[in-house]
């Protein structure tokens, strides 16, 4: 199943996963094409606004301000939603959130639950939890549907099936939806998804969504989308459950005037996405009769407690950093083996997952070129945070072999006598590994590192030795 490696089984290191990914030519081509399309569009629509930089300043500042006021904003949001007939739940971790959702969905008498694409519910592994409870989650976002039908993990925040091209999607629909006549014309593929899901929307009992933001002072929850599946779920279901990370709350209604400009332009390169739904609790005669808002911590307070890493929580999940990333371009999203791929994943995942459960290699999956920070609409210093995460990984690995070797090296370099003795020792030890003046093979812990590298051999005579010999001669 699409159970996620990052949170369940043993972590997979980025280098080994990436090695497999970079040899998958089809995926790389698909990702490159998609990246080029989206980059061009983002640049064009951002350039249309001459106050773009001022919007970024405001976006960064308003997210920071909301984070620093979380203690007040969350109870305020709770109060507003409750007063409008909604029910607010709090979940310390993924397990607790899943329990709440399963309980509410069961009580509503559902066997099938509709889902709007939500990274947060991917993060907590909600689909697997629903299935374990005998409920059938049905993804309604086109790309999520593709992933669900293909039994694959999403590979991109915004376009989870970015790794698949139109022909691959056509083949999948032909096979899984029994549509033998289908062509790979995107319009026809969209039409197929519409026909496939329509009946499910019309009979929807329970729907689950994430949230792009929630405004504390008005109790408004905001979902931004394109296809209309979000509207279907948040409008037609009898019971709506929204799972939202606690960091998504903003203070004021007018904060939306900033986010609703930054997000669509950075995400899909549109001036505005086709549909934005804004609602508060329940509304008599319009939409669901029950609304449940699940406020999720699951590592967010841990990131909040690290003043250096805290800005990672500003993230509005636009995926502009991913589209700009040269490493992602080569590997695609699956190599990260995490819900959040790309640059944002490399700094967010270690924070959310905590000291355990996370491959320490992720923050190293970057060349620190800074392309991500240039595009981030809320000005997260992604390269700076990558270095911060690397530091944490290295400090935690000090105990290991690498730490011991570095300490030994420090001692050797500190004294001339020890250094020269080490040189003579190395000259003897390297002998079997040297070909044409280069060390070509490595043993023990260096074997992996050396499989694609070589080193200049320690020369038969150093300059100092030659100088000393010359005097004697």
């Amino acid at each position: 199943m699409r159970e996620l490696a990052a949170r369940s089984a043993r972590p997979v290191a980025f280098p080994s996963a990436a090695e497999a990914a970079v040899t998958d030519e089809q995926t790389r081509t698909n990702v490159r094409l998609a990246q080029d399309t989206i980059r061009a569009r983002r640049v064009a629509v951002a350039a249309e606004l001459d106050d773009w930089e001022a919007l970024r300043d405001a976006g960064a500042a308003l997210r920071d301000r909301s984070l620093s006021r979380l203690r007040d904003l969350l109870p305020l949001l709770e109060d507003r939603v409750t007063r409008s007939g909604g029910v607010v739940h709090w979940a310390r971790d993924a397990e607790e959130a899943n329990e709440i959702v399963v309980r509410v969905a069961r009580a509503a008498g559902a066997r099938e639950v509709l889902k709007v694409k939500s990274l947060t519910t991917d993060e907590i592994g909600l689909n697997a939890a629903l299935e374990r409870a005998g409920l059938r989650p049905l993804e309604t976002d086109l790309a999520e549907l593709v992933c669900q039908l293909a039994d694959e993990r999403p590979s991109h925040l915004l376009v989870p099936a970015i790794h698949k091209n139109r022909t691959e999607i056509r083949d999948l629909f032909r096979e899984r939806l029994g549509l033998e006549e289908l062509t790979d014309e995107p319009r026809e593929l969209a039409e197929a998804a519409r026909a496939h899901l329509r009946a499910a929307f019309l009979r929807a009992k329970v729907a689950i969504s994430g949230a792009n933001a929630a405004v504390a002072e008005t109790g408004t929850v905001c979902v931004v989308e394109s296809e209309g599946n979000g509207r279907m779920c948040t409008t037609l279901a009898d019971t709506l459950i929204t799972v939202m990370g606690i960091e998504k709350v903003v203070a004021e209604w007018r904060d939306l005037e900033v986010l609703l400009q930054l997000l669509p332009r950075s995400a899909t390169g549109e001036r505005m996405n086709p549909y934005t739904s804004l609602w508060t609790g329940v509304r008599e005669g319009d939409g669901p009769r029950a609304f449940h808002l699940v406020l999720l911590d699951a590592g967010r307070t841990r990131a909040l407690a690290d003043p250096v890493a805290r800005p990672v929580l500003r993230c509005i999940r636009c995926s502009a950093c991913i589209n700009a990333c040269p490493v992602y371009r080569q590997t695609g999203g699956h190599a990260y083996h995490t819900v959040y791929a790309g640059p944002i994943g490399a700094i967010l995942e270690p924070q959310l997952a905590g000291p355990r459960g996370q491959p320490g290699s992720l923050p190293f999956a970057s060349s620190l070129c800074g392309a991500c920070a240039d595009v981030c609409p809320v000005r997260i210093d992604i390269p700076g945070l990558l270095v911060h995460e690397r530091g944490r990984v290295v400090r935690s690995e000090r105990q290991g072999l690498e730490g011991a070797s570095l300490r030994l090296l420090g001692r050797v370099f500190a004294s001339r006598e020890r250094y020269e003795r080490a040189q003579r020792l190395a000259r003897r030890l390297q002998r079997p590994a040297v070909r044409e003046g280069r060390v070509r093979w490595f043993v023990g812990p260096l074997a992996g590192w050396g499989s694609s590298r070589e080193l200049p051999a320690v020369p038969p005579q150093t300059f100092r030795e030659w100088w000393a010999d010359r005097d004697r001669a």
């Binding site: 998609a34 399309t37 989206i38 001459d50 106050d51 001022a54 405001a58 500042a61 620093s68 203690r71 969350l74 109870p75 739940h89 310390r92 086109l142 376009v159 970015i162 091209n165 139109r166 319009r187 593929l189 039409e191 519409r194 329509r198 929307f201 019309l202 405004v215 008005t218 109790g219 408004t220 394109s226 296809e227 209309g228 509207r231 409008t235 037609l236 209604w253 007018r254 904060d255 005037e257 900033v258 609703l260 400009q261 899909t268 549109e270 001036r271 505005m272 086709p274 549909y275 739904s277 804004l278 609602w279 508060t280 509304r283 005669g285 939409g287 406020l295 307070t301 909040l304 003043p307």
Partner: protein
Amino acid sequence: MTAREEILRRINVALAGATAQPVPRAYRVAGELDRDGRVALFRRRVEDYGGVVLESAAPGETIAAVLAERGARRIGVSPDLDEALLPVGVEVVADDRLTPRQLDALDGALTTCAAACAETGTIALDGGPGQGRRALTLVPDLHVCVVRRDDVVETVPELLARLEASARAGRPIVLVSGPSATSDIELTRVEGVHGPRRLVVVLVDRPPA
């Protein structure tokens, strides 16, 4: 300790010593265009995303023509829609809590809107007079929306300011920018997924209500 207490306690500990900084709002709030300029921009932007825009002095007739052209014979309206907008020659069904299936059987929906934004080609619905509930403008495949020229603002901040009172009153709001679309296939925009695949905007002068 309940989950609520525990999370709020964690936040308190995490934020010890943190202070809230003010938000610089140097971005553009008010637009500069006059009404004609706003309407012209709005028109271009809606068309850019695949919507159709018509100007009309006689909305009832224009709407009837729009519907006839698209073969729409049964359309849903909010029970409080201004009668001056009702087209002749088509069956008008008042949305009196129709079920989703009944909505699905309609050929289209005809509504007004709360406001519109030129810069992004957006129409905003907040359940006010003539707009109906959210399902009405979602399930039928065609949405014909009457927009008063005076209700077209230029910028996104202006649009949201217009909607603030509705938000505070707890009324659901939907922002619509063009017909339903997806960018999920190779990141190219394709129109027409789950929401109405056709969006027609009819610009009028006189207040419909």
